[in-house]
Amino acid sequence: MDYFAQQLINGLVLGSIYGLIAIGYTMVYGIVGMINFAHGDIFMIGGFIALITFLILISLGLTAIPVILLVVLLVSMAITALYGWTIERIAYRPLRHSFRLAPMLSAIGMSFVLTNYSQVAQGARVKPIPPFITGGYTLHESADGFVIQLSNIQIMVVLTTIALLAIFTWLVSRTRLGRDMRACEQDQTMAALLGVDVDRTISMTFVIGAALAAVAGLMYLLYYGLVDFYMGFVAGIKAFTAAVLGGIGSLPGAMLGGLAIGLIETFWSAYFSVEYKDVAAFSILIIVLIFMPTGLLGRPEVEKV
């Protein structure tokens, strides 16, 4: 039981990171209708920028951890968001009214570019950082000595995710930008006729998605203590799986799917085999889609002839 509780905590933390990335996928899919394959690599870039900012701040002599974290968060969100914006501008906007496969291939190409760009720029070796946020709470200690740990970094990941989700939900449901985004999702032409700047809205979608991915990158860096140039691919596929599992285009679905994938992975590694954890996640995706072809919370597609 204690072991189960510990794995539940670990799974929720991992799921939060996946969920943050998945939101970027699902948002872009909902509005532009394309799979942004490069999104996983945006997450990776976010992790790298966070790492570099950390290094600079520490070598400048800063010691206050909250200040460092805040600066790193802001810098990595800002620069990664600019990456998202640029990529949309270069690789996706010219293809917006092209046929369906063209933007996707362009995105795959962009993903190769980003992966190899960071390999060339920062080298192929894994980059570790010393743990920044240490300590934690012991929730329960059983008779046989097994301890349920809740570390501070885990609390921070979950709290940040909840806070971001709250801000994000407010943004989508209450602000002008959110209304524009929902309008573009329903009908771009009509939205444009009613005075919505469609180009700007789509750009902002990429910017927000990239910023969330940057936060996920920072969390990953703090939680696992390392980044490497290849981490975007696996995390990207997992997060996309999460988005599809939850029903692509649905924002609560993305978070739910992320948590589901995180939990499946953690429990499978804990109780069955670590090697097959990804196989388990992908198999469950396929099984869910057999019975619910639009995911857990997706709207059934109404086809008009």
Partner: protein, 433 residues
Amino acid sequence: MTAKPATGIPSLLKTAFINALIALVLFSLMVGIRTEAGSDGQLTYWTRFGDLASLVAAVFGGSIVIELLRQWIGPTGAEKLVPQAVKSGMSFVGRYLAPALLIFTLLVPVIFYDQRYILDLAILVLTYVMLGWGLNVVVGLAGLLDLGYVAFYAVGAYSYALLATNFGWSFWICLPLAGILAAFWGMLLGFPVLRLRGDYLAIVTLAFGEIIRLVIINWQDLTGGPNGVTGIPRPSFFGIPLDNSDDGLAAKLGIEYSPTHRIIFLFYLILALALLTNWVTIRLRRLPIGRAWEALREDEVACRALGINTTTTKLTAFATGAMFGGFAGAFFATRQGFISPESFTFQESALVLAIVVLGGMGSQLGVALAALAMIGGFELFRGLETYRMLVFGMAMVLIMIWRPRGLIGHRAPTVYLTKAQAISSDLVKEGHG
């Protein structure tokens, strides 16, 4: 980057300046600062402001050049008038390009007999031509987006490798078996995805490809895990080995043995397999099943309404495409003599898909040309090592922007009415179809 039409010199400079500024922010940390883990695990960093400055300068200069080119070429959407002579010349080239290419390909081993490198490259290109034609059945004809095609390639390769190394079966027995096994896996993948469409299909096929790769890596007893399978037998000329022994083909024919013989044999083998793929595809397009595939690609709902069984149509498309992938995989295994999961990553799937889309989705000649361009181009940049994939990715993006519909983008309908038929209005009134 900024797409505003710039007219004068000041606005041109302004655009370039903004682009350079964006580049400065983008590259500032990633390029300007280089991190590396030291021997004690401590991260160190050093600055590379020179590289950063030259990159930003390149962006500044590049955006001026692009902007000037854009003004010089004019708006991209404009219809360009092509002179009649050029048009007829193009159609002449178009008609004779395929046969000319085929004849040239047949002559490649004769022309480049002594150049091992070119022969090896030609074999590689033909393997990708075959993979492209195989995937073309699924993506180009049936319109089912498959991001995990490499799974069938892997199934074919491992089928031959394991059967040949464990049971000593010959290549010619294993080749059909590899195809059948891959087709079987294609059907297996087909079942869960029958109800899915578009992007759901894409992610499930991608997941399937990853599952196959992960199972190959982790099922070490069977597949050897990350170490792969070594010592895969070379193919024989229908039972006669291609080696230096007394039973070898060279000895039987009474000619001097040369290692090039095997390369040339492999070349004609993959050429035959690729042409078989092409021929089968062309024939299938004329059969009801091929027409059903194309109908499915155009409109699934209309297909159902017309009584086409979409289940069998999709499954046969997956199975046929997978079978050719399996053949190509078996060939790959026998050519390399060694296979490992490294060869079957998502990158391969993306490469084959890029070949199909670049080739114009459904055009056989286009796929062949695209494979030549992609693999040949890939080889050209071999000297660049780490920059190779970077250049490849950029090329993919640029080609998609330049020609989103592929090199040969026109998709002629296989069937069409020769004359317009007048339909009486009482046939089309409501309730009568």
